[in-house]
Amino acid sequence: MTNTNLVFKSLTRRKGRFLFTSLGIVIGMASFVTFMALGGSLKSQIERESAALGANLVVTPKGSCAYEQVSILTGEQLPTNITKDEVAAIRSIDGMMAIPYLAERSAIDNRPVSVMGILPGETREFKNWRLAQGEYFSHENAEGAVLGSVLAEQFGLLPGSEVRVRGSQIKVLGVLDETGGKDDLTVFLSLPVAQKLYDQKDLVSYVAVRVDHLDEVELYANKIKDQVSLGVVSDKQMRNSVLSIVGTVNITLQIIAAVAVLAAAFGIVNTMMTATYERRREIGILQAMGATRTGIFKLFIFESGIYGLIGGVGGAVLGGLAAVFAAPLISQNAATSFVKGAQSSFDPMMFVGAILFSTMVAMVAGLYPAIKASKLSPVEAISYE
């Protein structure tokens, strides 16, 4: 017999209670880990998209707010009311490059995808795209579509196959190299073709601007505002406001998950209190055999620590899986739609952290019952009938 053996035999003597208490902490930790993992990947995804946009300034429809800014980064549909004349006015400013986009949505096999109308030549230069397969648009209003790499793979599309966008069959010209961002999940059309397809004649959703000299971003923002009465945000402002929206959602979810962990901790307190009461005679016997109070305390703390260990391992595994597999299912709104493109990387530090955190919480939960158990007088414990 060893202390470890003794603890495991005590743990498993009430199998149902052991199972349900473990489940409680596993579920609590799983939700916690899920939201932590999502939060981490959301943040890096936002930063990646913001970088992939390649712009210092973004011109948005007048009166647009943070929500539209989120949509620019996620490729959601946007109000389309920037006119051809406004685009021309912006593009007439020297010392910067301005690229208009028409952001729309479509569905392939009932799965939503982003559709972008672009200026083929300039966008390619602006974003440094490389072609993986097939051909690129031959001229500025070429028919046909160029696809992001992930999308092409998901739907098994190759150059020469056809894709249905808003009721029209469109020929696939080529597939881009992987970019790591939402462009990988987008169908690109030339701007005139997209405008016609979506009935948005001469209109675009936003204009991405890159200034020649980084220290003049502020100056150019004002120049644009002088030319057109539209919203202008810097990439930093946009990133920050998006991060703060997503962060708020994320923190709320994490708080809810923390409450779940807390509830599970009280489950452990409850289980261990019951165990203390049930085993008071045995505690007396152990003391008569020479177990010290510290010894009894350790047995009980060890026992509740095991619940934490189980919760940490189970929660990290389940939560990690949920973050990878369930994430696409919850990407229904702008704040969480980043997740679908996120490569939920498995972070070993988070795994270790979850196990340590959970074990610590469980041991704190077991503190009171363990103190209670160690304070039992052997005589009272034994003479109880």
Binding site: E282, I285, Q287, M289, P378, V379
Partner: protein, 232 residues
């Protein structure tokens, strides 16, 4: 004095306080000679178990002193007292003795662990002890699968795990049939020949007659054994 393994002076034990105060012991003096077979007798509720717990260092007296093998209980902290019990005393209790989720062997192994016997020697020793009490075939039985008498014998084997010089037994044969009782008594007889001091609480005058030191408890005090013998 050197000849007594346990001695008590002016022992008082009270439970509770105020209206619920119970004086279980009211001034007990006694000496337990080393190597003796001492019987404690007395009617129910008169303080036998309480006395036994104090003599084994399981509890502190309210007043008075208990000296176990030269060490005064009141001067020892919880930890030292626990270690004293681990080294010197083997208990067999009146009611609950065994950890019910463990087998007979595991119960004894737990006692061996607390006595500091390394893990790899425990199994052999545990089986030896169970054979000593005639339960070599019940090694893997859980207490629930054993009769009351068998459970008490496991408890005796368990009490012997630390090879203690003193065995304290609270009516270990109280609910055994005469055959099982005879078996237990035979085990105890052997232990006595090995030089162990045995303190035995009993209601049985038959067993008491075989003791070489008789202590009669009445109303929390020691009564002259002569009076007991006459009365019974």
């Amino acid at each position: 004095m050197n000849n007594s393994v346990i001695s008590a002076k002016g022992l008082v034990k009270e439970y509770g306080q105020g209206a619920t105060l119970v004086r279980a012991l009211r001034g007990v003096d006694l000496d337990i000679p080393r190597g003796s077979f001492t019987c404690i007798i007395g009617a129910s509720g008169h303080g036998k178990s309480t006395l036994m717990h104090l003599l084994g260092g399981l509890d502190y007296p309210t007043l008075g002193t208990v000296i176990i093998d030269g060490q005064e209980v009141s001067r020892l902290g919880n930890k030292e007292l626990a270690s004293l019990r681990a080294k010197k005393i083997g208990f067999v209790f009146q009611f609950f003795n065994l950890l019910h989720n463990l087998t007979a062997k595991e119960n004894i192994e737990t006692a061996l662990m607390l006595a500091g016997v390394p893990d790899n020697e425990q199994e052999r020793r545990a089986i030896e002890l169970l054979e000593l009490v005639g339960l070599g075939d019940k090694v893997n039985a859980k207490p629930g699968q054993l009769s009351g008498g068998q459970q008490q014998r496991v408890a005796i084997a368990r009490a012997l795990a630390n090879d203690p010089p003193v065995l304290l037994m609270d009516e270990p044969t109280g609910n055994l049939d005469s055959e099982a009782e005879a078996e237990v008594m035979k085990v105890l007889e052997n232990l006595k020949h090995q030089g162990k001091t045995i303190i035995f609480v009993t209601h049985s005058t038959e067993i008491a007659a075989r003791s070489d030191n008789l202590i009669c408890v009445r109303d929390g005090q020691i009564q002259e054994p002569q009076a007991f013998k006459k009365a019974s």
